[in-house]
Symmetry: C2
């Protein structure tokens, strides 16, 4: 029974290695976690002064991080809101900007629908005039991209437009630099920088909306270490360029393996690849049995999403995928 | 102008050393921060595995921290909610448990009133039947303590009772072990453990209320390091007993100095002392000029709150207070 419950949890969110271990107790360890869209080579966490843990984050430190994020994303500091992960903002949006209807352009990350549903908002599958709209861009899990022009059209007809740019760090376009009125752009720190455990994310919006979000999140929205790590990482353009080059090479390597293993490529970003195969659910289980956790989707049984492995895990991933190929 | 704005900020929250530096640019550095109620000798942060920063916190890790907090506070794990600081919960309460009126038993920590006011709730100074009630116990800044019997009476007449036990770690009584229905007890990690920068706090409530809070806070409410640091610290009874003994001695030392400097003791806890003096505002400025930041209160010009200094800062604090004495 424990195993069944743990197995079901693997369809909810990526990254739940404990449940994978419980569901597949005989799989070789350590597990290789390809179930998330995190950069597998994290930004190196700097040595932290002990005072970072001890004292309350000061307003000036939060403002410094707003400025660093603004410089990175192309927005002015007053438009940037600091939060303990983009999820913390997603949780607040339906309460701060209530709507009777919200169109969530799916299939996409389930956290948006959960938050709006908890607030009693009716969920639509396509935009309707006057309803709020949520777009993940590029989309998770299929990598669908809407051009800025289309996003501006959506903003004009919507009561509120939420554009979740959680996976936009390596994209050519962002709405942050010039977001329309009544638009909230979300940015995630943990994914591109491979530091999801830091819990750091941002909203970019016109100053009035930004002020409402800041008031809701309170005076100390993130930890002292998150302020320091975020400020340094976001200013480090050299590291980001090197990360992009490595991820491009890794994504090509993974795509080739997936095709060789009988998958069709659906789409993706540099942080994850979505692949289709008629027996994807069986492939998920086969990979789990080898200690490789990927991301299945309850509503799309032919899909599997693959994050990129750490360099040291490539050989095991390659062997597991070649094993699948043989099973075709 | 910058100096005036910075000076005003010192009345909003403790811990804002940047504003103190801006308001008193000629004060000797480093500043000694007595403006908060934090243990000045923090729990030692353990060496952290790099994976704590990199991966998403897993559900089982959050459940382990719930259990550790429950064991420490005397509550079962299903009644414990994990958050990035008690403030994160305070921000949510008026939205999740809306009330037309809330009685906040003041003067007390201003964060409660700000949050309820932002949600449009009418603020009362004394309980009324059917209104929500907020009590900080022991109270900040005056150390007022309500007995459990009185809290149970309040709970019976209130639509919701919030008991903020942010400073209760060294108290004989807590409501956590047996909280009445429709009661939410808040606990802070950062104060007693001297780790406010970690951002960790808890709610203790009946399981149904706890579930509502957990859903609002989302799947990853705190950082990976906070999960590890909190779990270890909360299980370390030896450290907490030693901290109590040291704080008791330090509080006696500070009380003696305050009385010698012409203050009357109003009350406090082992983490802060409230003192009264007719010219407390002038004393605040005099102490700032020596790089010692205390906590003034806009509405109570005769009050100053003193946190306890780090051992290495005792001599400077003693000299600054003896200087005040001479000025009487």
């Amino acid at each position: 029974m424990v195993g069944t419950f743990a197995f079901e949890r693997l369809f909810q969110h990526g990254g739940d290695i404990n449940s994978a271990e419980a569901a597949f107790p005989e799989a070789p360890r350590p597990w290789i976690d390809l179930s998330t869209g995190l950069n597998p080579v994290p930004y190196p966490v700097p040595a932290l002064d002990a005072a970072r843990w001890a004292r309350l984050p000061a307003p000036a430190e939060i403002e410094a991080l707003q400025a660093a994020a603004g410089a990175r994303y192309g927005a002015t500091a007053p438009r940037v809101v600091v939060a303990a992960g983009a999820q913390a903002i997603i949780q607040w949006l339906p309460r701060l900007f209530p709507a009777s209807r919200v169109a969530i352009l799916g299939p996409t990350y389930s956290g948006h629908e959960s938050a709006w549903r908890a607030a009693g908002t009716r969920i639509l599958r396509a935009p309707e005039p006057g309803a709020a709209v949520v777009v993940v861009n590029p989309n998770n899990p299929d990598g669908r991209r809407l051009p800025l022009r289309r996003l501006r059209e959506l903003a004009r007809a919507a009561s509120l437009l939420v554009v979740d740019e959680a996976f936009a760090d390596f994209e050519a376009e962002t709405l942050c630099a010039d977001s329309p009125p009544a638009t909230i752009v979300l940015r995630s720190f943990g994914k591109a920088y491979g530091l999801a455990g830091v819990r750091l994310g941002f909203a970019v919006a016109e100053p009035e909306i930004a002020g409402v979000l800041r008031e809701a999140l309170g005076a100390w929205p993130v930890s002292g270490p998150a302020l320091e790590i975020g400020r340094r990482a976001l200013a480090d353009a050299t590291w980001l360029a090197a990360a992009r080059a490595r991820l491009e090479a890794d994504a090509r390597w993974l795509d080739d393996l997936l095709v060789a293993a009988g998958f069709a490529l659906v789409g993706g970003t540099l942080l994850f690849r979505l692949a289709r195969r008629a027996d994807a659910r069986a492939a998920f289980v086969t990979l789990c049995a080898q200690g490789v956790l990927t991301r299945p989707f309850r509503a799309e049984p032919e899909w599997l999403r693959f994050g990129l492995p750490r360099p040291g895990d490539r050989a095991r991933v390659e062997a597991a995928l070649r094993g699948l190929q043989a099973a075709v």
